[in-house]
C-alpha cells in the first residue's frame, strides 16, 4: 500500500462527512426515517399512497444543491472514467444489489453504523470489501 498524499483532502472529508451525518440525524429526528438513498429512490418504483411526496422532496433537495452550485460557483470536481458499457453493468449491479441488501453507503454505511446496527456493519464490510477487490482486479490484475 502506498498513500497518495497529494490527493488526500482531510478537512473537506471531515467537514463533508459531518454534513452527511447531520442530514441523516436531522431526517431521523424530524421525519422518523432513515436517510438511505437506495431505499428512498427504490420506494418510488413501488409507489404507495402518501409515501411518494417525501421521497420526491428528498431527491429534489439532493439535486438542488449541485444544480445551484453549478449555476453560481465553479464546476465541482467530477471525473468518470469507466466506459459506457461498464457504467451500464455497474448501474444494474448497484441498483439491484442495494435493494437486495436493503441499503447502500448512506443507509448502511452512515445511518446503520450510526445506529450501531450489526446488520449494517456486516453490509458495510461486505460492500467495502467487494469494492476494494473489484478495483484491485480492474486496475492491477486485468491487462
Amino acid at each position: 500500500m502506498q498513500i497518495d498524499w497529494g490527493a488526500f483532502t482531510p478537512w473537506s472529508a471531515l467537514g463533508g462527512g459531518a454534513l452527511i451525518g447531520a442530514a441523516a440525524v436531522l431526517f431521523a429526528s424530524l421525519a422518523g426515517r432513515v436517510a438511505g438513498i437506495s431505499g428512498i429512490v427504490g420506494g418510488l418504483l413501488r409507489p404507495q399512497r402518501g409515501d411518494v411526496g417525501w421521497r420526491v422532496a428528498f431527491v429534489l433537495g439532493l439535486l438542488a444543491v449541485p444544480t445551484v452550485y453549478r449555476l453560481v460557483g465553479p464546476d465541482f470536481a467530477f471525473q468518470l472514467d469507466a466506459s459506457l458499457q461498464t457504467l451500464i453493468v455497474a448501474g444494474l449491479l448497484v441498483g439491484y444489489g442495494s435493494r437486495l441488501g436493503s441499503g447502500c453507503t448512506s443507509g448502511h454505511g452512515v445511518c446503520g453504523l450510526g445506529r450501531r446496527s450489526a446488520r449494517s456493519l456486516a453490509a458495510t464490510v461486505a460492500f467495502m470489501a467487494a469494492g476494494v477487490v473489484t478495483v484491485a482486479i480492474v486496475r492491477h490484475l486485468l491487462p
Partner: protein, 146 residues
C-alpha cells in the same frame, strides 16, 4: 397523518436532502475518480473517504442516540427506523453485488443522482441502469410473493 405533519415531512425531506447533497459535494464523494482512489487500497490509496465515513458516523452516533428513544419524531410523525434483524445471505449477497458495481464505476446511489446534474452521458446511463436494477428487484419480489 394530519396535513400539517405531512407538510412537515415534505419540508424535512427537502432540507435533509439538500444537506446530504451539500455533504456529498464538500466531501468529494460526488467525484467517482476520488471514490475509486479510496477503493484502490492496493494502488495509490487516497484515504480521504475513510474520514468522510468516520465523521458522518461520529455525528450519527451522537445524534441518533438522542432520537432512538423517542416514540414519535419531533414533527409528531411515527418513528420508522429499521427493526433489528439477523445477518442473512440476502444482506451479504446484495451488499457484495452492490460493492462490485460501486467498484466498477465509483458511483453509489446518492453521488449518482448528483452526477446527473453534470449532464455526463455516462452518469445518465448509470442512473437509468440503476433504476432498472431497482425495478428488476421489485419485479422479482412481486413475482415471489404471488
Amino acid at each position: 397523518m394530519t396535513p400539517k405533519a405531512h407538510r412537515g415531512e415534505i419540508v424535512a425531506a427537502l432540507a435533509a436532502g439538500a444537506l446530504f447533497g451539500a455533504g456529498l459535494l464538500v466531501s468529494g464523494m460526488a467525484n467517482p475518480a476520488k471514490v475509486l482512489g479510496f477503493l484502490d487500497v492496493f494502488g495509490r490509496w487516497d484515504p480521504s473517504l475513510a474520514l468522510v465515513m468516520a465523521s458522518a458516523v461520529a455525528v450519527g452516533l451522537a445524534g441518533f442516540g438522542l432520537s432512538a428513544k423517542r416514540a414519535q419524531s419531533v414533527l409528531g410523525l411515527p418513528m420508522r427506523m429499521p427493526a433489528k434483524g439477523s445477518i442473512d445471505r440476502r444482506l451479504i449477497l446484495g451488499s457484495v453485488v452492490f460493492g462490485i458495481g460501486w467498484g466498477l464505476a465509483g458511483l453509489c446511489p446518492g453521488p449518482a443522482l448528483i452526477a446527473i446534474t453534470t449532464g455526463s452521458p455516462g452518469a445518465i446511463a448509470f442512473v437509468v441502469s440503476m433504476l432498472a436494477g431497482m425495478a428488476l428487484f421489485e419485479w422479482i419480489r412481486k413475482r415471489g410473493s404471488e
